[in-house]
């Protein structure tokens, strides 16, 4: 495919007569395998990795110190006060769960929609999902106060002969997030098994052979296995799709089913899901760009991929902006004085600074992605991702805190301020997230090799006639389609 661009790694010029090449630089099955497997096996660990690992591992240490302090002292160490009984713990929980959604969107929804560009980034995104859910799961667990009674969240028979209340959205959360974490893990691992087998077969040292060999559970690329494997992958994608939409809907029920002005709105589920995808893509981008730079993956994670991600950020960011506007419209149109007060208070009350930070980052920033120059400029987009991450955290802060701090009764109003412990716990959760991520990029196959090989233009097989079969399902080999019987 001839492209009228000078940069050989720029494939963002669309030629509608041909599918865009997703793997650049004349790669073969061999070179793809080498590029990806050598990151885990051969490449000398970059110095930057050690520096980053030391830094984030220390932050993780801070996180656990803070949790330890919280447990021995009590939730009084946080900035919670009487009306604001839900503070940063819930904000961080919603933030991290939301981040995870992009991973499942990429791995499941884009798979069902046969968006082949997902193959280069899905492993990253799925890993990110799992690490984000780990961070998310931490907060509800530690915010219960008496953490040694955290098992009461689950329907386990206990000495009180009492069961949890299934009509509570907080219990739905336990099931939704628990299912989400487990299914994401199964999906990620299932996708990784063939690549772990590749690592096993290339590993030189005994220890690595044993570790990768055990993780690969004896995968040997048998087509009788691939046959069931692909069906299983399709089924998992089909299951994960409604699941991911349900998770943030259920999280939004925590708010929406209450009576509090600003929370009690039916727009919450779709608006939360869109916001989750929006923030998640930004986080995928935040970690993907340095990784592709450091590990030399620019021909696999191409500008076309980033361009597509930015378009999704633009679309979901616009939905989020539209949802903000709709909330305001309904607050006015609904004629409920408490509801309209809650929204005027959001924009012009004591938390106006947070509100306008959120609007700037979430509504204004993504609109810049209408311009292709910006969508394809690595540095600019990375900065934009950071803005989106900040904005989406503030969205959860604004929703949670503004409604609580000024509810129905003015005499109980109070201003909420986080303590140092709050801040360090949150910062520490980033430490945990990035520590896990650094371990992932160092030791596991960061790109789904087997999947990428299915979308490659093979140099030595000229013409579409001989193009190897495309995606994981339904794409019949052109030669076979004509019938070999």
């Amino acid at each position: 495919m001839k492209q009228s661009v000078i940069d050989p790694l720029n494939n963002t010029v669309d030629d509608p007569t041909r599918p865009t090449e997703l793997v650049l630089g004349g790669q073969s099955y061999t070179t793809i395998t080498e590029t990806v497997a050598d990151i885990a096996l051969e490449q000398k660990t970059p110095k930057a990795w050690y520096v980053a690992f030391a830094f984030f591992a220390s932050l993780t240490g801070v996180l656990f110190l803070m949790i330890g302090y919280l447990i021995v002292t009590g939730v009084g160490v946080w900035g919670l006060n009487n009306p604001v009984s839900w503070g940063w713990a819930i904000v961080n929980f919603v933030f991290w769960v939301g981040i995870g959604h992009a991973g499942t969107l990429i791995s499941a929804i884009l798979f069902l929609l046969r968006q082949k560009w997902r193959t280069s980034i899905n492993r990253f995104a799925e890993a990110m999902t799992i690490f984000a859910v780990v961070c998310a799961g931490l907060f509800p667990a530690i915010h219960v106060g008496r953490i040694w009674l955290v098992h009461w969240l689950f329907p386990i028979p206990n000495y009180q002969a009492m069961w949890p209340n299934f009509r509570s959205p907080l219990l739905w959360d336990v099931f939704a997030v628990g299912t989400y974490a487990l299914v994401s893990l199964l999906f990620w691992y299932t996708g990784m098994v063939p690549d772990l087998a590749t690592l096993r077969d290339r590993a030189k040292g005994r220890v690595r052979q044993i570790i990768y060999g055990t993780l690969a559970i004896g995968w040997r690329g048998s087509h009788r296995h691939w046959h069931r494997y692909e069906k299983a992958y399709l089924l998992l994608a089909g299951l994960a799709t409604p699941l991911v939409l349900s998770v943030h809907s259920v999280v939004s029920f925590d708010f929406a089913t209450s009576q509090l002005p600003g929370w009690h709105t039916s727009i919450f589920p779709p608006y939360f899901v869109a916001g989750a995808v929006f923030s998640g893509f930004a986080m995928v981008g935040t970690v993907l760009i340095p990784a592709r730079q450091w590990f030399g993956l620019k021909h696999l994670i191409t500008l076309h991929h980033l361009d597509n991600m930015n378009k999704i950020i633009l679309a979901t960011g616009s939905i989020v902006g539209f949802a903000y506007a709709t909330e305001f419209f309904i607050a006015w149109y609904g004629g409920n004085p408490y509801e309209s007060f809650a929204f005027v208070n959001r924009a012009f009350g004591p938390y106006a600074w947070a509100y306008w930070t959120m609007v700037t980052c979430n509504v204004v920033t993504p609109q810049l992605f209408w311009f292709k120059k910006i969508r394809t400029n690595i540095k600019v987009m990375w900065v934009m991702y950071i803005f989106v991450n900040i904005g989406m955290w503030f969205e959860r802060f604004v929703i949670t805190v503004t409604s609580l701090s000024r509810d129905f009764l003015p005499s109980s109003w109070a201003y909420y301020k986080p303590t140092l412990i709050d801040i360090l716990t949150f910062v520490g959760s980033f430490g945990l997230f990035f520590t896990l991520f650094l371990l992932f990029v160092r030791f596991l196959p960061v790109i789904a090799m087997a999947e990428v090989k299915t979308v490659m233009p093979i140099a030595d097989l000229a013409g579409d006639e001989n193009r190897p079969a495309g995606d994981y399902h339904g794409d019949i080999h052109p030669k076979r389609r004509k019938g070999d019987k």
Partner: protein, 184 residues
């Protein structure tokens, strides 16, 4: 490596080229082998047909798993909140369907996904950490960049010399015998 016929596992032939492999696979199918397989670094479509593999029954298994999850989720909530420990909250029904849908849904998805995962691996006979094919150094490329056809020695149509000739006629690169217990 000279193989003892009694411990022979099978014979493998290597391919580099997908179209050639596809033709070769169809020939093996038409020859009537039953204990044979194709090993590829990634799934190749049209291969099911070339090999004559029937659709898997996994989806039915998963449907069953999903229904079990749904039933378990419903029964659990009914038992816990309406029968064993009835909680009257704001006079709401003890067992109202809408309030129970999220957990019913989540458990349906959870049990289905677990069925997919464990069902698929066990139908594939995995985990199985040892396999005679792993003894072949050449075969390590099956997860990287080469394609292999494997004819097992237990196949009724397997004859050492005949099969070797047949495999040689397919146009692959190298034919290798794999034994059950080779000396390293």
């Amino acid at each position: 490596m000279k193989a003892d016929a009694e411990t022979l596992y099978g014979m493998i032939v290597e391919f580099e080229d997908v179209p050639l492999l596809m033709t070769a696979v169809s020939k093996c199918r038409d020859f009537g082998f039953t204990k044979w397989d194709v090993h590829t670094p990634f799934p190749l479509h049209g291969m099911d047909r070339a090999m004559g593999i029937k659709p898997t029954r996994l989806p039915y298994l998963v449907l069953g798993g999903g229904l079990m999850g749904l039933a378990a989720g419903t029964a659990m909530q009914l038992w816990m909140n309406a029968i064993d420990y009835p909680l009257n909250i704001s006079g709401k029904p003890l067992f109202g369907i809408p309030a129970n849908i999220p957990v019913m849904f989540e458990l349906t998805v959870l049990v289905s996904a677990l069925t997919v995962f464990f069902g698929m691996w066990s139908m594939n006979g995995l985990p199985r950490l040892y396999h005679p094919l792993f003894k072949s150094r050449r075969f390590r490329r099956a997860t990287q960049d080469r394609f292999f056809i494997v004819i097992e020695a237990v196949d009724p149509k397997f004859e050492l010399e005949e099969t070797r000739k047949f495999l040689a006629s397919l146009g692959g690169n190298v034919i290798e015998e794999v034994t059950e217990n080779p000396e390293d």
